[in-house]
């Protein structure tokens, strides 16, 4: 089945220690998104890639970076995680236009 896969499902990192979350897709969608979802809150868009073009939301902290080496993979790098960065991180993909987003199951990040 075509899908969006996030690894790992659960990630524990230490305060200030860089961490990378990964996302892969078999849908061949040209748009990939990263959302942050804190407990009992709506998902919040951090940034997205339209093909190779990176688009950062205005209020996304500089601590968050992303890489998309090819169509299938996208990474979220948190350079110096703080306690406030503990959240569920959701990767999603879509075709261009107003196609629905397809979400992975998320990575739950804990910062100790």
């Amino acid at each position: 089945d075509a899908m969006v896969i996030q690894n790992p499902r659960y990630q524990v990192t230490q305060f200030g220690k860089p961490v990378t979350l990964s996302c892969s897709q078999t849908l061949n969608h040209n748009v990939m998104y990263w959302y942050q979802q804190k407990s009992s809150q709506a998902p919040k868009l951090l940034f997205h890639y339209y093909d190779k073009d990176f688009n950062n939301e205005a209020d996304t902290p500089d601590n968050f970076q992303s890489r998309r080496p090819n169509t299938s993979f996208c990474f979220l790098d948190i350079r110096s995680p703080g306690l406030g960065d503990a959240a569920m991180y959701l990767c999603a993909t879509s075709r261009q236009g107003y196609s629905p987003l397809h979400f992975g199951n998320g990575t739950r990040l804990t910062v100790t």
Partner: protein, 115 residues
């Protein structure tokens, strides 16, 4: 700018009872609306969408939503809920930007179905 308001943070209901989850949106341009469902520790799954055409849209598991332009609403309904419908439901509006689908989500409604 587009925005979404989900009027109820929690909705408790008994099994086999009807339910309505309310969603109002704000948009100055053409509207594309979505409902997503999220089960614990999982990602979001598309439940149904309104892009154009008939204002009543249905999902495969008995949910339906009606786009009401005059009331700027997109409420989600189900005539008879099941225990397995217990989940978080998010309404979302598409923000027009560069030809791709940037979703703005509401704060979510937690549906709790009791036996």
């Amino acid at each position: 700018a587009q925005s979404v308001t989900q009027l109820d943070s929690q909705v408790p209901v008994f099994e086999e009872a009807p339910v309505e989850l309310r969603c109002n949106y704000s948009s100055s341009v053409s509207v594309y609306l979505f409902w997503y469902v999220q089960y614990p520790n999982q990602g979001l799954q598309l439940l149904l969408k309104y892009l154009s055409g008939s204002t009543l849209v249905e999902s495969i598991n008995g949910f339906e939503a009606e786009f009401n332009k005059s009331q700027t609403s997109f409420h989600l309904r189900k005539p008879s809920v099941h225990i397995s419908d217990t989940a978080e439901y998010f309404c979302a509006v598409s923000a027009t930007s560069g030809g791709y689908n940037k979703l703005i989500f509401g704060a979510g409604t937690r549906l709790a179905v009791h036996p």
